[in-house]
């Protein structure tokens, strides 16, 4: 079979297009499978993490460390995160300032411990939960 330069160019183009198609499919599959894996557990842990967060914000308000508008803003971000996890919306999770919210979860755990509601070992479990949740949020925010 004779292959003219035009035929060869067409073959090269077809090959390039198939490589591009495979690469595109692979790049789509990665984030999709990542979000499918990361969201359910984050969604599962959120009610418990959120409980500690709200406790911390309430304690900050009570002790005068957090002005009301800032507390309202934090609570609104928490609602946004809950909705984002529920909707499995990567962009909405990315828009949430988790590093600003995270210390209030820690504060909530501290407050429970100080009030004698939980013991130090239980606090350690809650802190492990916070660390794992934070790492999952980081992973979700890093999905391309």
């Amino acid at each position: 079979m004779n292959r003219t330069p035009t035929t060869i160019a067409a073959l090269v183009l077809a090959l390039a297009l198939s490589v591009f198609a495979v690469a595109t499919i692979a790049s789509c599959a990665g984030p999709r499978s990542k979000s499918v894996t990361l969201f359910p557990a984050a969604e599962l842990a959120w009610p418990a993490v959120s409980e500690d967060f709200h406790r911390g914000v309430a304690d900050g308000l009570e002790d005068g460390d957090l002005p009301q508008p800032a507390a309202d803003e934090l609570r609104s971000e928490a609602e946004a995160l809950g909705r984002a996890l529920d909707a499995r919306d990567v962009d909405a999770v990315r828009a949430v300032p988790w590093p600003i919210m995270q210390p209030w979860v820690d504060r909530g755990i501290d407050d429970k411990l100080l009030d004698g509601e939980i013991g130090p070992g239980v606090a350690a479990s809650l802190r492990e939960q916070l660390a794992k949740f934070t790492s999952t949020i980081d992973d979700i925010q890093g999905i391309l």
């Binding site: 557990a41 984050a42 939980i118 239980v122 350690a124 809650l126």
Partner: protein, 95 residues
Amino acid sequence: MSTKDEFKALIEAAVAETGVKLKEAPAKLAAYMAERATHLSTISSEPGFDQAVRAERNNVALRAGIAAHDMASSVDYQFLGLIQGALRMVAVAEE
């Protein structure tokens, strides 16, 4: 059979039964579960123990990276129920 081996067998059986998909290998997840169950067994008399059991179940789920079923999230909860039950049982038995 060690706790870790028992957890591994439980995870494998639960995966086979529920069809849940995990990103973590059963042996590694079992080692992490055993570590968390040991921690729970040292704190079962502390106030708020139930919060710790729930947190540890969440920790295992976050570590496992459970892949959601599109239509049957109850399957995931069935799997998590088994995990939570096993953690509590081992923690109280080792107390």
